[in-house]
Symmetry: C2
Subunit: 269 residues, 2 copies
DNA sequence: CGCGTCGTTGACACGGCTCAAGCTTAGTGG
DNA sequence: CCACTAAGCTTGAGCCGTGTCAACGACGCG
């Protein structure tokens, strides 16, 4: 029997104060002030969930063009070359949107594939919120747009990693990114997080071979940066990791300043 | 004296039937049906232009957060690592937005730098159009959103190039991308386009060294794929280029199908 | 117990980088 | 009109980061 509670899901997101969509709510409320009504809407999303087994595509069939939110588990956006080479464009974590909120048609220029067993919820409501400029939902719409911009920033990070960083730097930088994102979703402590990724998935994300990922990982452990065992990442020397990876530590450059009336922000991101 | 008519700008965009903002209008109208009013608005943008010399940042000072559109010339979005390594994230061509239409605050996670002398126009009006859901501007808003999605798709292409393609494949793929984009902007013929990029800029876009770009370029010429001399690219064997680069030839997967009432589309993209 | 998936290790090959020098072109000033 | 210069392009030699291939080990599941 398949269990859809991925080992990657700490209890936080299953039973947190925000219910099913805890990760999403915790991230959005760090970006913009949400009204009680917004929160209510978000909680309501959890009623229409769907389960997906690892290694299956998430958006399929009729519903291929409807955005969903990832409630639990990990997924990837990936592209395949015709000879089988694979590149993972981005990881999708709980609270992320699968597909696009601005979906205006079948933009299928990459696949979203579950990496673990995954639960998703229909997010059409959110898409509507963004498109219609309903002023009562201004806070929510703003937070969602910011999330979109963060996604773009993540893709730029990925481009820099692949284009100009060494294997070692790439690996460390990616770990910092995941840590940071998981923290914002309430899924990581200050120095630990669950990472249900095999080395061959890391390889396809980092543009490296499996063998080299393995060796780089060991080097990072030997250097006292971090440890990875059984899907669990332990950050040992955060400062050093940030130095190695040329990590830009969340300056105001990355988190858009909020208009005064909406200022509410935490330090996630 | 500085002349701001970049050698990269064929007459099309200067004196085309759409005036100053010809590139933008030609791209947008390929994406969605624009009303006469929409076109009027777009033409009006050309009234507030600004000139920038090569190698300068485009968004600076007070106006750093306001989106602009690139009227003529080429620019790049780029990131720098602290030791000076540079990665070009994306090229900006005439008709592209500099900054973000959805700018919700100072998202400065990368610089936009002029690669040639450049003319830009204020695009605040467009940003407003996207945010407010004015139904009279539905066609324009839709086209702008599609442009945003295309930009995301371009970044994914860049990620795949850098992560999983060889130097040779990357180079050819980028040339195909530029050709395709310039055609959509009315700035390329079927087999030729102006490309005002030095090899060291290509290197930073492709994640390669200058020397290797040079050698790869020569190989592509020897193989009868294309020729590049004095800023002019001549495509010699398009089919072969597409095969080499694993180019996905504009399937419906990349250009979102339009709702029937807006169907108007060309084959750009 | 046997099989499959994932991780680890070693030996070796190669794509792409670095360094260094020379070349070409266009612009500049005398 | 021509030297001089700076930027960009080209070429060769050698090195190194990363890939490939192949084998083996560890773990979990049926």
């Amino acid at each position: 029997m398949l269990t859809f509670l991925s080992p990657a899901m700490p209890s936080v997101a299953r039973s947190g104060k925000f219910g099913e969509c805890g990760a999403l709510i915790s991230r959005l409320s760090a970006l913009s002030k949400l009204s009680a009504d917004d929160i209510h809407l978000l909680k309501g999303l959890g009623r229409f969930t769907k389960q997906h087994s690892a290694r299956t595509e998430i958006l399929t069939g009729e519903e291929r063009f409807k955005p969903r939110i990832l409630v639990s588990g990990w997924a990837s956006q990936q592209r395949l070359l015709s000879d089988g080479r694979r590149q993972i464009v981005n990881f999708l974590l709980p609270g992320d949107i699968v597909g696009s909120l601005e979906q205006l048609g079948p933009v299928l220029d990459c696949e979203s594939v579950a990496l673990t067993n995954v639960v998703t919820a229909d997010a059409s409501t959110l898409a509507t919120t963004v498109e219609k400029g309903d002023f009562r939902r201004a806070g929510l719409a703003r937070a969602l747009r910011l999330m979109g911009q963060q996604e773009t920033a993540l893709m730029r990070d990925q481009i820099v990693r692949l284009g100009r960083q060494t294997a070692y730097e790439r690996l460390v930088h990616l770990m910092l990114e995941l840590h940071c994102r998981l923290q914002a979703a309430g899924l990581a402590t200050e120095y630990d997080f669950a990472m249900p990724l095999t080395q061959d998935i890391l390889a396809d994300a980092l543009g490296l071979s499996i063998v080299h990922v393995n060796r780089t990982l060991q080097q990072a452990r030997r250097d006292g940066l971090l440890e990875i065992r059984s899907g669990q990442v332990k950050i040992i020397d955060l400062k050093l990791m940030q130095t190695v990876a040329d990590w830009v530590s969340v300056p105001s450059s990355r988190i858009p300043a909020l208009p005064v009336e909406l200022r509410n922000i935490g330090k996630a991101w």
